[in-house]
Amino acid sequence: MRGAGMKIKIAGVTFGYSDTSVLQDLWVDLDGPQLVSILGPNGVGKSTLVGCICKILEPKGGAVLLDGTDVRDIGLKALSKEMGYVPVSSSDSFPMNVVDAVLMGRHPYSKWKTEDEDLEKVYDALVRLDIEDLAMRQFNELSAGQHQKVVLARGLVQEPKVLLLDEPTSNLDIRHQIEVTKLLKELSREKGMLIIMISHDINIAVTYSDNVLLMYNGGIFAAGRPWDVITEENIRTVYGVDCKIVDFKGNPHVILDDTVELSTDEQWEQPYTSEDHPALAMQDKG
């Protein structure tokens, strides 16, 4: 399978803007094809971490290693064949049809002219996401759910081994949220991709993710299998929300209660260090 051995090592990543620190010494390994969800409240540095992984941001300390190579040492063009990124969807865009919008994902491979091979890949991606009937529609006139799938199709035709998505399910109704998240899990299997997404819906994320990464105040609070990470205590500390966790179809399911006083303790110890941090891998082969 393509990309079988691919690994991302987040090795002591530290990031900050001039005087504020956003990420502080993060350690975690992500091994092989799987779906990983990054969870955590607003402003804890989820997008920053994703930015550091795909070289949009440069860490101030530490490094992100892709199969053992520091991403800083990989040229943008070469990296674009390994790693794809789907930003938070924005509604503002210039008039352009869906095929053109998806074709841009072929940029790392394509020449000036649009080749049949590129179009074939676009078609396959559209069929896979079940949106081939939208091909000639205007991208900026689609609904949020369709829009998200088109952006995802662009990520697919890029054929990366690692795909990072910043809140792919924001703005979507529940049906589309489930559909897109499920799709990501399936794609991680079909194409052997390591897919990392930021999400705000714990229950949907947990249902389809192999592993979750719970972030808190610029660090990783917990990482691993959903049952180990999504606990009543963790949710209370990280989100400041009381909840009850029940077993629903074998996955932890969060039933929300009321907000609680947020801990004002800025000094907390991250559980993971350079010597001792988890290596997250796929749960099953199914």
């Binding site: 210039f94 940029h107 091909a135 900026n140 006139e141 890029q158």
Partner: protein, 368 residues
């Protein structure tokens, strides 16, 4: 067998149809570009027949063909006069209008991609007013940042002062808090700043210079002469070709800097290069023709809806439409039925503003 493979197998013919559809769609875009070019050539022919020596519409093409193929006429023969009046009096002005409209529209396409803002063009971002100031101090004080005086010195002034707003645009569009409004509002602020500086410069000018500078600020093709054309033509052509070569990279900027970077583009460097090139183009045009607004906004905007925003098609289509648009405005401005000859910039705004408003209102849900 994966679901993907199944899907691919069962829809083999669908794929062929899909590719054929898309190729057809590209062909329509190319035809549109060719269509605008044809209309442009027709209007050029018509524009030559206006004012001065009488030449028939179709006759003009004969003269142009003969001129290009090197046919010479007997000195001071009737044909010689016609040829002279076409190529030394009317053509420079017509070509200047086409080149200026083309260049400003290409600038618009590029700046809109770079700032991800459909309202960006040399005019709205303040580049024009910067260039105006550069030209004003050149005219009034004979001050030039370059040792060569005359046209080149003034053009260099326009370029350097046009770059000041450009630097601002680079800083703003690269910043974290970029919003579509910021760039345009910043452009307006810069415009006012430079306008006031230009006005101050005018306080020290002679009446004659003020008149000259005023007309120039309105945007006019009157001052363009045959000897200026080659420089203008080559400059705009080279810049346009460079920009056009990077069409696909410009497309990537639509996706935002993060996504463009993960598709392999060094966004910061690329954006800077593009803005410097557009500043050079805008400055070159402005220093010849004065300030002409709207064309850089309207032509790309119209064409985005016709050939879509893929710069490989948008840049030529919008460029040609811009050239056509400016030529029509200039031709109307000096048409026989006009009581006085109106500067092209005035007509441009008079025609362009309502069209632009109409487009904004009509396409509320789309871009903008």
């Amino acid at each position: 067998m994966s679901r993907l493979d199944e899907a691919v197998q069962s829809t083999g013919s669908g794929k062929d149809r899909f590719i054929a559809d898309y190729r057809g769609y590209l062909a329509v875009k190319i035809l549109t570009v060719v269509g605008i070019l044809v209309v442009l050539l027709l209007v050029t022919g018509y524009a030559i027949t206006i004012s001065g020596k009488d030449v028939g519409f179709l006759e003009t093409y004969g003269y142009i063909w003969n001129h290009i193929t090197g046919v010479t006429y007997e000195f001071r023969s009737p044909e010689w006069f016609v040829d002279y009046s076409i190529f030394d009096i009317r053509m420079p002005r017509i070509l200047a209008a086409i080149i200026a409209g083309f260049g400003l529209s290409v600038c618009g396409c590029v700046m809109q991609a770079v700032t991800r803002n459909p309202l960006a063009d040399p005019y709205t971002t303040g580049m024009s007013s910067g260039a105006v100031f550069g030209v004003s101090i050149g005219m009034v004080f004979g001050f030039s940042l370059n040792s060569t005086f005359g046209d080149m010195g003034i053009m260099f002034n326009a370029f350097v002062f046009g770059l000041i707003p450009a630097v601002f645009i680079i800083a703003v569009s690269a910043g974290k808090t970029r919003s579509p409004a910021t760039i345009v509002l910043g452009g307006i602020a810069i415009s006012y700043l430079f306008s006031s500086l230009s006005t101050i410069a005018m306080m020290y000018a002679s009446e004659q210079t003020i008149r000259k500078a005023y007309l120039w600020q309105l945007g006019t093709m009157e001052r363009v002469t045959a000897d200026m054309l080659p420089l203008m033509f080559v400059g705009i052509l080279v810049c346009s070709v460079v920009v056009y070569v990077f069409s696909k990279q410009l497309n990537l900027l639509y996706l935002g800097s993060g996504n463009a970077s993960t598709l392999g583009l060094d966004v910061g460097t690329f954006r800077t290069i593009m803005i410097v090139i557009t500043a050079a183009m805008a400055a070159a045009i402005i220093s010849f023709t004065g300030v002409i607004g709207f064309v850089g906004l309207v032509a790309p905007h119209v064409m985005r809806h016709v050939v879509s925003s893929d710069n490989r098609y948008l840049i030529p289509a919008a460029g040609l439409l811009g050239g056509l648009f400016l030529l029509v405005c200039d031709t109307v401005g000096r048409a026989p039925f006009m009581p006085v000859e109106l500067p092209v910039g005035v007509i441009m705004s008079f025609v362009g503003a309502p069209i632009f408003l109409y487009i904004i209102v009509r396409s509320r849900k789309g871009a903008l």
